[in-house]
Every structure is written in C-alpha cells, then in structure tokens.
C-alpha cells in the first residue's frame, strides 16, 4: 500500500464525511481556530508594527521579540499551559498567538520602513496629517509586504493548529493524533493531506487578497 492508496481510501470512506468526527466538522473547527488566532495576533501586532514602522523607532526591540518568540517551542508551550491551566481554548490560543505575532510584527515594521520616503514627504508637504500619511500613503505602499507577513503567520497557524488535538480539542489534528494511537495509518495520512490542502488554500486566499487589495501601481514594482 502506498501513500496514494491511503489517501483515496480515506476520502472514499463515506463514514469520514459525516458526524462529529466528519471531515466538514473538523475542517470547520480548524478554520475557526486559525481565524481566531490570526485575528488576535493581528490585533496585537499590526498596530504596534504600523506605529513603530511609521516613526522608525524600536527596530532592535522588535528584532529581539522576534527571536524570543521564535525560540519558544509551540508544542512545549501548549503542554505546559495545559498542565498549569487545564484544558480549554486559552491554552491553545496562547501558543498560536505567540507563534503568529513575530512574523506579522517584523514584516509590518520592515514594510513600513521600506516605503519610498519621497511620496511620504510630498504628502506631508501638501498638508496631510500624520494619520492621513499613515493610512493613505504608507499603508497602501507597504501592503504587499504586510500581506506577506500575515500570510506566513496564517500558514504557520494552519500547520500548528494540528497540535490542538494533542490536548483533546478538535480540528484536523484529531485525525493525525487519533490515527497514530489507533495505528490507523489511513486516517493519519488523510488528516495530513487535509492540513496540507488547507495550507495551500490559505496561500491561494492571500494571493487573491493581494490581487484584490493592492493597488496596480504598487503591484508592478513589488
């Protein structure tokens, strides 16, 4: 039996398509975890990145936060939180948010720094206020890079949300963790395929968002 047999067996079994352990339920849970974690991380990291990038201060502090955030193993944090706090959504969201904040923060800062200074000066010279400069000049020009930071954060969350299953929550990790315990390899491979597929869909969503939101003039240079 090779990989492709496992995959086709998993997806052809109608039992996998219904009930609380069905593919639609699990995919829904996985998307829910991802959106929640990405939303919280963006709410924290985007304003900080925009403001520090706008004023060009605090780059070293951000670089330190990024290394520190990257050095903390998500899986370890998850188990530690669970042992200390007990089971629940908080102990899954905390490691996922810690995972997602550094890429958004650093990329947003770098994106703001890499905006061409001459249009910014021109906007100031025409009497635009700081908020106007930030949202009408700098953010549109920095948008492709800001989106790429959000994209890598989103992909990491999609990949890592699988470990929620390790602490008895749902999501696509359920198939992988349960399959490994039940020695049901077909289930493991099916779950892994679904996660990889969802990660690729995320890539596609961000590509489409980039086409839709980034102004054509900026896109050509990027």
């Amino acid at each position: 039996m090779n990989l492709f047999h496992f995959i086709s067996d998993f997806f052809n079994d109608s039992a996998h398509w219904q009930g609380y352990d069905g593919i639609p339920t699990r995919v829904g849970e996985h998307i829910q975890y991802t959106l929640q974690a990405l939303g919280i991380a963006a709410l924290i990291a985007l304003p900080v990145g925009l403001v520090t990038g706008h004023y060009g201060r605090g780059g070293n502090a951000l670089a330190f936060i990024a290394v520190a955030g990257r050095a903390l193993p998500t899986f370890g944090l998850l188990v530690l939180m669970t042992l200390l706090v007990g089971f629940g959504m908080v102990n899954v969201m905390t490691p996922l948010v810690i995972l997602a904040v550094p890429p958004i923060l650093v990329t947003t800062y770098e994106a703001m720094r890499s905006v061409d200074p001459s249009p910014v000066d021109a906007a100031r010279g025409m009497g635009m206020g700081e908020l106007g400069v930030l949202f009408q000049v700098e953010v549109p020009a920095a948008l492709p890079l800001i989106l790429s930071g959000l994209r890598s954060a989103a992909i990491q969350i999609v990949s890592t949300a699988t470990i929620a299953a390790y602490v008895a929550l749902g999501g696509l990790g359920r198939y992988i963790v349960d399959g490994l315990y039940q020695r049901n390899y077909e289930k493991v491979v099916g779950g892994a395929t679904l996660v990889a597929g969802l990660a690729l869909v995320t890539l596609g969503v961000f590509w489409a968002a980039g086409r839709f939101a980034v102004s054509p003039g900026v896109r050509r240079r990027a």
Partner: protein
C-alpha cells in the same frame, strides 16, 4: 510544580538531560547543514539561470506550506519512526529560507566589484568563492539564523510520531506523568539552545566579515535586509 525533580528525567526517555540536549542539537543542526550544502549550488544555479528562480521559489513555498506534523507522518511510510523522518522535513524547510537568502545576497554584490575581480584575472569559480560568497555572508547568516532557530523548536514536534523529538519527548512525558516541571524544563532548554545558536551565528558573521561596522546597526537603505528576506522571517511551526 515540583522543582526538586526539574532534572529528574523519566527512564523511558533513555537519555540524561545532557544526552537529550545533544540529541536535540544533532536532530536540529544536521538538517540546517544539509540545507546549506544543497542550497549553495542550487542558489548559484538560480543566479546563473534567472528563469530557474521563480519555479524554485514556487516549489519551496508550496513544500513549506506542508505542516511539519503532516510531513513527518507522510514520511513514516518510507523512513519509519526514525530520526531521518524528522530530519528530512527540517532540511526542506531550511532550503525555503536559505535559497532566497543566498540568491539575494549573491545578487546584491555590486557590478563594479565583479568587474574588478574579472579584471584581476579571477575565473568564474574563484570569483564566486572569493568575492561573491564573502560579500553575501551577512545575508546567508541571516537566513541561517531563521532556519536554525525554527529547526531547534520544530524538532520537538517529532515527539508526536513516537519519541523522535529529543527534548520534545520530555514534553510528551510531562503530559503522560503529569509533571509540568518537565515541560518547563524542555521549553526553557530549547529556548536557551535557540538563543545560544542564534548568538553563535551572529559571532560567526562578525568573524567572517571584519570589514562591517561592529556596533551600530546598518542604517542605509542598501544595507538593510531585502524585503524578500524579511518576509521569510518565519517562526517555527
């Protein structure tokens, strides 16, 4: 939390704490080394033949989108529950960071510098090794830092596929035996290892590039990391 048993490692891990640290470093660093050895020629090909770079970037980005746990279990069928199963995906992930870093670094070498080297009689190979690579060192080390730190924290996920996670196995045991101090030990050990490895790479960069300013951060636009490199500042998954 029982602090007296912070270093009391359960016997089923079959290693002392130091043994786990050694195992962890081997499982995390060998893939980065392998990634570097593969990406150096690959990046050189991408610089030489420009049309090759977009497809290579595409393939690596798509491979990067495969979650580590999924990658591990897909490989079990071929390599079994061994260290190799953990090390192959880590090698692939480090390629994703290193190839763009090296390509950007080598491409950023000024045209005049290359012309000067050619005029001094350097052939293509000697010019690459003695001129382009040294100038690209800061970019390459920046890529290595990202790859190394994320590799160190990713090894722990190997615990989920049957005790192949080195220090990560301690996290698993913390859960089984309900001993939070073991999980804390694992998290702190990995964080310290990652920060030490990061500092070591910075030191290597300083040693290899004696011409760069030591203290102040580069301030001119040209010296800042390329946007593409910044975008790949990915954390561990």
């Amino acid at each position: 939390m029982n602090w007296d048993r912070f270093f009391d490692i359960p016997s089923d891990l079959q290693h002392s704490w130091l043994g786990l640290v050694g195992l962890h470093l081997r499982e995390a660093l060998l893939p980065v080394l392998a990634g570097l050895l593969i990406s150096l020629p690959l990046a050189q090909l991408c610089v030489r033949f420009r049309w090759l770079y977009p497809p290579v970037l595409w393939v690596t980005t798509v491979l990067y989108a495969i979650p580590s746990l999924a990658f591990f279990v897909l490989l079990i069928d071929y390599t079994g529950q061994t260290e190799l199963t953990v090390m192959i995906p880590l090698t692939v992930y480090s390629l994703v960071v290193l190839v763009p870093a090296i390509v950007d670094g080598v491409r950023s070498v000024p045209q005049e510098t290359l012309a000067a080297a050619t005029a001094m009689g350097f052939g293509p190979v000697r010019r690459y090794v003695q001129v382009q690579l040294p100038i690209a060192v800061p970019a390459i080390v920046a890529g290595l830092r990202v790859a190394t730190v994320s590799s160190i924290s990713l090894v722990s996920v190997g615990a989920l596929i049957g005790n192949q996670g080195a220090l990560g196995n301690m996290i698993n045991d913390a859960n089984i035996y309900n001993r939070p101090e073991l999980a804390l030990n694992a998290v702190l050990s990995m964080a310290v290892l990652a920060i030490l490895a990061d500092a070591l790479l910075v030191a290597v960069r300083v040693l290899l590039t004696p011409w760069m300013p030591r203290r102040s951060r580069p301030t001119t636009k040209a010296d800042r990391p390329e946007p593409a490199a910044a975008a790949l500042e990915d954390a561990a998954r």
